[in-house]
Symmetry: C2
Subunit: 330 residues, 2 copies
């Protein structure tokens, strides 16, 4: 039968109380299996605030937000850290290591952590070794990367005898999404600025390559190459309305994975679409697309019950039984 | 990183060489990780035939199909049995127990085995205890039950913070499917005969309740009741064109799971559709639907790598990491 938490709620610390982190924290507070006992955020505007207020809950009090993570970890001794501070593994590795060394399992929104073995092999090895040494498990996940463009693809592939090619498309109308995301994909900037930002790097959706690598690992493909391109979607006024980002993975010179993320103001037919060319072929569509923010909090908190108690080490979503959502009683 | 088989192919026995079993056998032969060393079928037409011929492969020889399962198990000593002989657990339990007692892990197409804990609690307990005593794992799965109406639903639920209701619809145009399936859903019989067959039982798609129970287990719902109805789809000539089968699961008097299987000649818009009412709501559609026969073989063989080496006992799909398909090289 299914694994589950014990009867005692898991002592949990929230690391990062930004938009996504606060959403994770609100969901953690709702869940019986978690006991959210502390939150850490180094931003001066957050430190010292009562936790429930910082999470945006209509509820007084809670412990004060801690600015010093190491001190909070040592004091609170959490069994689990829900981590949401950044997209890039080199930036957040010291935070993750601090959690692991304090004996906490970690589930993180860090996009590069969802499949860190190829972009950052040395950092991944270090984190894996430290997690094993301290007997804890570490997972990077979220809705994307972490679910719609990778885990769901691998799940669907289970109905295929063999897979020749995979194409995944996520179209998001960022007019419906938070401003931070609009900026991240270049909505409103000139095409010249767009080109400059592509050159400068750290632009666009982080995690598309990680999704492709996770799919490849799931299907047993050792890709020769994985190339990513960033093109502007042009608005009627000639500025950028957003971005069309594409990753193409090849094996023996043939393209086997194509991942497409279009995030732009007014994007037509927002959706998540998975097409598998194989035996049998399968095509899955989620019209409208899975909304990023509530779903990221869901995937993080749902995965927590699979990570606590798992064999130690640096995990990917491929290692875990399905992180299911929670049915509510009427 | 992901679990995997060792380097040595798994000694595998195929139990049942009917339409579905032969499809499973053909796929097993293709897979490097499996070594299909024997096949068992008690049908007089099969026993003694060369295995590759019985599987429909354009390849000579192979061991003769064995009629006596216990003898074959004792001689061959398989590590894994791929089992495809029947839909009803009481019928196939002696076969499953023979495999387990011979020290073999089992992956079976038996529909009632996909979630046997509620329909056959005593048999499930017995099988679980025997599997544990012999250090092997047993799983019932397939495309339906086993994937499109249950595992995929639970997978998708991972993006939800909370789930209020689930509706799953599978529409199959049986004109495109094998005759055995057409008969199973009453295509071509009179409405009077249809009513008689509903009365007599063992009619229609086996496994719809099991799918609902698996979903409920995945989402943490303990259903009060799960009722199933069977209605004819009426053809223009007044006879039955097939069946509309519905299961409704309730919790505290409210319907939380609705499972609908329509299998009829000329059914409109064949598809698999999953609708989750929750936070956020999600709707997934596979137009055309996942084709049953190749997908069942795929799910069975793909799950094998997750079952061999798993902690012993009677498993469900909820216990396993994702059984992924196999990417092929160009």
């Amino acid at each position: 039968m299914t694994e589950s938490f014990g009867t005692k709620p898991v002592r949990t610390l929230l690391f990062g109380v930004g938009t996504i982190g606060a959403g994770i924290g609100r969901l953690a507070v709702e869940r019986d299996e978690l006991d959210l006992v502390a939150a850490v955020d180094s931003a001066p505007a957050q430190a010292g605030r009562p936790m429930y207020e910082a999470l945006g809950l209509d509820r007084a009090g809670g412990p004060a937000i801690e600015a010093d993570a190491e001190q909070a970890l040592a004091t609170v001794k959490p069994e689990l850290v829900l981590h949401a501070t950044g997209s890039f593994l080199p930036d957040v590795l010291p935070q993750l290591l601090a959690c692991v060394r304090a004996g906490a399992n970690v589930v993180s929104t860090c996009e590069e952590l969802s499949y860190p073995w190829l972009r950052h092999p040395e950092l991944a090895k270090q984190l894996d070794a430290e997690a094993k040494a301290h007997g804890v498990a570490v997972l990077g996940t979220g809705v994307n990367p972490g679910f719609v463009m990778d885990t769901l693809v691998v799940a669907l592939s289970g109905v295929c005898q063999q897979i020749e090619r995979v194409k995944i498309t996520r179209v998001v109308d960022v007019a419906t999404r938070r401003e931070q995301l609009q900026r991240k994909v270049g909505a409103g900037i000139t095409l010249e600025e767009f080109r400059e930002r592509v050159q400068a790097g750290r632009f666009g959706h982080v995690g598309l390559k990680e999704s492709c690598w996770l799919i490849a690992a799931g299907l047993g493909w050792q890709l020769d190459a994985l190339e990513e391109t960033f093109e502007p979607v042009v608005a009627s006024n000639g500025s950028a309305a957003g971005m069309l980002q594409t990753a193409r993975g090849t094996l023996a010179g043939r393209e086997v994975i194509e991942g497409i993320v279009q995030m732009s103001i007014g994007a037509e037919r927002p959706r998540d679409e998975i097409e598998i060319a194989g035996t049998p072929p399968v095509r899955l569509v989620i019209e409208g697309g899975v909304p990023g923010e509530p779903a990221t909090a869901a995937v993080i908190v749902n995965a927590a019950s699979r990570v606590v108690g798992h064999a130690p080490g640096l995990l990917t979503m491929l290692d875990l039984p399905l992180p299911a959502g929670k049915g509510v009683a009427p």
